[in-house]
Amino acid sequence: MAGLKKFSMESSSNKLKLENEEIAIEVKDWNLYYGSKQALKGISMKLPENRVTAFIGPSGCGKSTLLRCFNRMNDLIDSVSVEGEILLHDEDVYSKHMDVSALRRRVGMVFQKPNPFPKSIFENVCYGLRLQNIRDKQVLNETVEWALRGANLWEEVKDRLDDNALSLSGGQQQRLCIARAIAIKPEVLLLDEPTSALDPISTLAVEELIFELKKEFTILIVTHNMQQAARVSDYTAFMYMGDMVEYTDTDSLFTNPKLKQTEDYISGRYG
């Protein structure tokens, strides 16, 4: 548990202020409807670069829905309609001229359940590169090693890169999915409850990894686990019923919540 201590000590020693941050994503008055039902209500927020921002809140509060807006995964659902603006480095994500595939290469995503493709470990990691028609064997090899090292998986799998990815354990599979996502070097990494299907040891490994990854990526993480949010994130947003209730640096939110609703939630009175 030494690792965990290290994170919390660091995040408490440096006072973070949103005003001092470089902004990666800006959300302006964002509304989302499933048919006629409104799931996100007028959300506005600025997400800082090279930081970990956590989204917490009870089930159905819209945190995953919001996360899926950043790489337009909600496009897959026919009944969804949206209003407002999401700017990724001042570029409108939902603009008509946006190439969605290119957007998703810039905004990578890791899902709740590990979803490796039924291919070899190597092919899983370089899948995104192959999509970009990168065929140079050396580039592929180097990137795969870099990504697997980045995902803390290299030492475990370096001798069996040709094995089927499905032969890995759940925790390894999830780290493989992270490696797969970072292999295409996105600007932003979306993590949708990445540890909810994992055992405590694997969870710890992924959390350590998140801490490492924020040096290179802007990380947005949805989690049900408030301790996890407190451990890994620099900023935390608390959402409730489609509203952004409170959004500030993690320390302030957990030690000194401004709103009663937030306090009730983090102290476990509901949710």
């Binding site: 995964m73 595939s101 290119a102 998703r104 995503m109 899902f111 979803n115 999509l131 499905l166």
Partner: protein, 548 residues
């Protein structure tokens, strides 16, 4: 009893008995076909019957016991009483002498205790006129008797082998070499007609064509001479004389002998060897005597070629249709209508597909192709006549629903998370489908193909209309470029069964062949399926831990 009923046990018994009945039926059917079919290849014992006719004459009948039937005969004194009297069907062979191969004898006319194995009998299988059942008497070469009695056998063995070798050589030259030359000449003729039609057949090309044609003709004549020599050689092998039942004699030219055997003197091992030899001949030889004898090789080739071609045609069509319907099409009344139509297409009687194939593929499509590309060949049609391509296409259409439905099921089973995984890495929907979803749906696609293969290989009715014939002069695949001849007519095991069983001039002789061919058809379908199932299992193994 009541509590037993209340527990619902009787339903378990009911359903279990339904399963048992099905299993018994399936295995009973297979066992019967296998028994009757394989029995055909076994060297049967030949018996000697002394038949007493009503006029007091005694007739000797020598042959294999083929079948037994009970005949109802009225009692001589009382019409009310009916006796069941067994009648025996004896295969006597010697068709050229007796007129028919088979003879019924009534058990009342023979003394069953006196029936004995015909001692030292020889059965000679001939290329024409069926088998001879008789005793070897003498063997003549060039008019001189060189062996008599027991000694004939060894000499005959030797000569018959030479005869078979010559026969094969002749067949090879006729079919492959001369067949190839004929094919080239025909191509040359069509090419010439084509150039003539286009008005480009000038004096120079004419000279070229003439030169080619002369070369081919010369080659043809050379081979013809070679064949003539082989024929002369075969003719000079001599002839063997056998004494048959009734005291007559049959003389058989040795070049006519396929093989001969003495069933009553064979050891068990020799019989087993003969059995497998016969199966080998059945699989590799061409049919003879209006399909009632010989092998089924062209039908095997035809069936397998047609099925494989059908698979190649139906797979892309069915898979692409399924992809569109389950991945792209918007759910609505139109899609539902299309789904219902496809499901119902599977229930349309196959002969209807045959009619459609004939009307649309052969006449309209084939006719148009002929008009457009083969106008010079007129009036003889090239594609405007039933053939392999149209038969395969018709079968592909017939099996299309099965492939579509099972592919759709496979696609819908791929977890959403994997599609999202692909999309999240920047793949387009098409890339995700092609690289992730479709490979994982291959086991389901294979299931569809297995069902399609089983159906197409066993179908007869539509094939009769779109390309299958009783006897095809050439195989649909051979050594002449382009190796597969899509416009050729072909033979098919299913139709062969129908033809041999019901259109044959010699019903009794062909009956065992019907069983043997049926067995072969089942074996071919099962092995095609086993191949597909093995591929499917390997694919399943690869994707097995998915979705849990």
């Amino acid at each position: 009893m009541k509590s037993w009923m209340n527990k619902g046990e009787h339903w378990i018994w009911f359903s279990a008995s339904a399963v048992s009945v099905s299993v018994v039926l399936v295995f009973g059917l297979l066992a019967m076909i296998a028994y009757k079919g394989l029995l055909h290849f076994w060297p049967h014992n030949v018996y000697d019957y002394q038949v007493m006719h009503s006029n007091g004459q005694i007739e000797q009948v020598i042959g294999e016991l083929h079948d037994t039937k009970l005949k109802l005969v009225e009692d001589a004194s009382n019409i009310e009483i009916v006796h069941e009297v067994p009648e025996y069907l004896i295969k006597t062979g010697n068709r050229d002498i007796y007129g028919i191969d088979f003879k019924w004898i009534n058990s009342r006319d023979i003394d069953e205790t006196q029936v004995k194995l015909a001692d030292g009998i020889t059965v000679v299988e001939r290329y024409q006129w069926g088998n001879v059942y008789g005793h070897l008497e003498s063997l003549k070469v060039n008019g001189e008797v060189i062996a008599t009695g027991e000694a004939v056998k060894e000499v005959l063995q030797d000569l018959a082998e030479q005869g078979t070798a010559l026969h094969e050589e002749i067949l090879h030259i006729e079919k492959v070499v001369i067949g190839g030359i004929n094919y080239q000449i025909e191509r040359l003729r069509l090419e010439q007609k084509k150039l003539e039609a286009e008005g480009e057949y000038d004096a120079q090309t004419e000279a070229e064509f003439e030169a080619k044609r002369t070369a081919f003709n010369q080659e043809f004549v050379e081979h013809q001479t070679a064949i003539q020599q082989l024929y002369d050689q075969a003719n000079s092998l001599g002839e063997v004389t056998l004494g048959i039942a009734g005291g007559q004699k049959i003389t058989v030219k040795i070049k006519q002998v396929v093989r001969f055997w003495q069933p009553n003197n064979m050891s068990l091992i020799a019989k087993v060897g003969f059995f497998f030899g016969s199966i080998g001949n059945f699989l590799t030889e061409d049919p003879r005597e209006a399909n009632t004898e010989g092998g089924v090789f062209p039908a095997i080739v035809g069936t397998v070629t047609m099925v494989l071609l059908m698979t190649i045609l139906v797979t892309p069509m069915g898979v692409l249709a399924a992809i569109y319907m389950s991945e792209y099409a918007k759910d609505g009344p139109v899609l539902r209508l299309v789904r219902i139509s496809i499901n119902n297409l599977a229930g349309v009687p196959s002969i209807v597909f045959g009619i459609f194939g004939l009307g649309f593929f052969v006449y309209i499509l084939g006719g148009s192709i002929d008009d457009l590309f083969y106008g010079y060949a007129a009036p003889s049609p090239v594609f405007g006549t039933p053939g392999l391509l149209w038969a395969s296409l018709t079968m592909a259409l017939l099996t299309l629903p099965v492939v579509i439905v099972s592919t759709q099921e496979g696609l819908s089973r791929i977890p959403r998370s994997l599609r999202e995984g692909g999309l999240a890495l920047g793949a387009t929907k098409f890339e995700t489908i092609m690289r992730i979803v479709l490979p994982m749906a291959t086991p389901a696609i294979m299931t569809g193909l297995i069902l399609a293969i089983a159906r197409a290989a066993g179908e007869v009715a539509p094939l009769m209309l779109v390309g299958v014939v009783k006897l095809a002069p050439t195989l649909p695949v051979d050594f002449n470029a382009p190796f597969i001849h899509l416009e050729n007519k072909f033979m098919h095991l299913g139709f062969h069964i129908y033809d041999v069983g019901f259109q044959s001039p010699n019903v009794e002789a062909s009956q065992p062949l019907v069983y043997a061919t049926s067995l072969l058809l089942v074996v071919i379908i099962v092995s095609l399926n086993l191949g597909a199932i093995m591929i499917r299992n390997r694919l399943r193994e690869r994707y097995k831990s998915l979705g849990n």
